[in-house]
Amino acid sequence: MNQSWKSFFCLSALFLAQFSITKAVELKTGPTATLSKEGVVVTWTTDGISGTRLHYGRQPALLNFKEDGGLGITHEVTLEDLEPGPTYHFSLGTAKRWLTSGTLTLSPSGEVVITTEKGDSKTNTSTANPTPAKPKELEKAESQPLPKLTPARPAPIKPPANAPPPQKVPPTSKTWGYIPSLQDHFDRHGRDFQSTSPEDYAAKAWLFLQYAKRNNLPMKWDSADRTLRVWEPRSRAFAAYNANGTTKTFFRPNSDTYWSRQPGRPIKPDELPF
């Protein structure tokens, strides 16, 4: 009897917990960019209190400059050292997660153009000038088509022309290690590979392993936790797999030294346990 009551309460707790999941902070407005005396000021708002973080750099895969701000709903960072002319790539968000990414350009005339990409289609363009622009110039600028969206991360690996025919990907339950975590990994890393769904993300991670095996990509085997780590230097893709070949994670690190810091001994595909 006691056991049945316990089971009843456990099931009820699980049922109630389904409805108590709190939504993560999302981007509400922006980002917008304006030019001030101090530099380019990027502002955005979120639907909840969160930290402020913006990483930027000349290369989409190397966002090596960082600006942080305080906690709040309105976020603002000032980029003091942007040079007029080149396009800068950025990712912004909280310390927990990136909310959006895009490009930012400061023209020699002092105009700031920011393009952002969130999900697959949202675009936000903002221009600013420290001196009031002439109406004609403004009209001309507004009539220009929006610049093509530039992803902050490199494009996915394209198979060469002589690549073998596409492989049939096993079901997600066979390729992803811990299924309940898949949604969170997809939310955080899915956009690194333009994944459209958790299943698509898991499939890409599995295909990456097959690609790595075929092309002898750098691999490290860590016998301490029986984990295989794989690296693709060209596209800067990294993945970790369990000893049965299921995926732990798949993303593109920002750090230049990420792969060299990974533990494990180099291993060849034919030595793998799966």
């Binding site: 927990k96 975590s181 810091r261």
Partner: protein
């Protein structure tokens, strides 16, 4: 025998499936469903220590992070408290003493 609880270094959540670091220093890459800290990514790539992450998470209201793993009804209790809770309560012990005296 109860399995060893794996604790998140950022928020103290005790329900992780594996240690965040193995003996080699390799990261588990298990995203903490409570605070979202991902060893091997948050610290090794984003350069945010578990302490920094935990501080910010608490300052932001300690919201449950995972969208797919439901939050436990009650926060995972520290190990000592969990062990204590499985011992028979005073009421149960008193009842068994009564039975013996009959």
């Amino acid at each position: 025998m109860a399995s060893k609880k794996q604790i998140c270094a950022a928020c103290g959540f005790t329900g992780l499936g594996s240690p965040q670091r193995s003996s080699s220093g390799g990261a588990s890459h298990e995203i903490c469903p409570s605070c979202g800290f991902e060893p091997g990514y948050t610290d090794d790539d984003q350069d945010i220590s578990p302490e920094q992450w935990g501080t910010e998470w608490r300052a932001s209201g300690s919201k449950w992070f995972s969208k797919s793993i439901p939050a436990p009804r009650k926060k995972s209790a520290p190990k000592a408290a969990v062990e204590k809770s499985v011992r028979p309560t005073k009421k149960v012990r008193a009842r068994s003493v009564k039975k013996r005296n009959r």
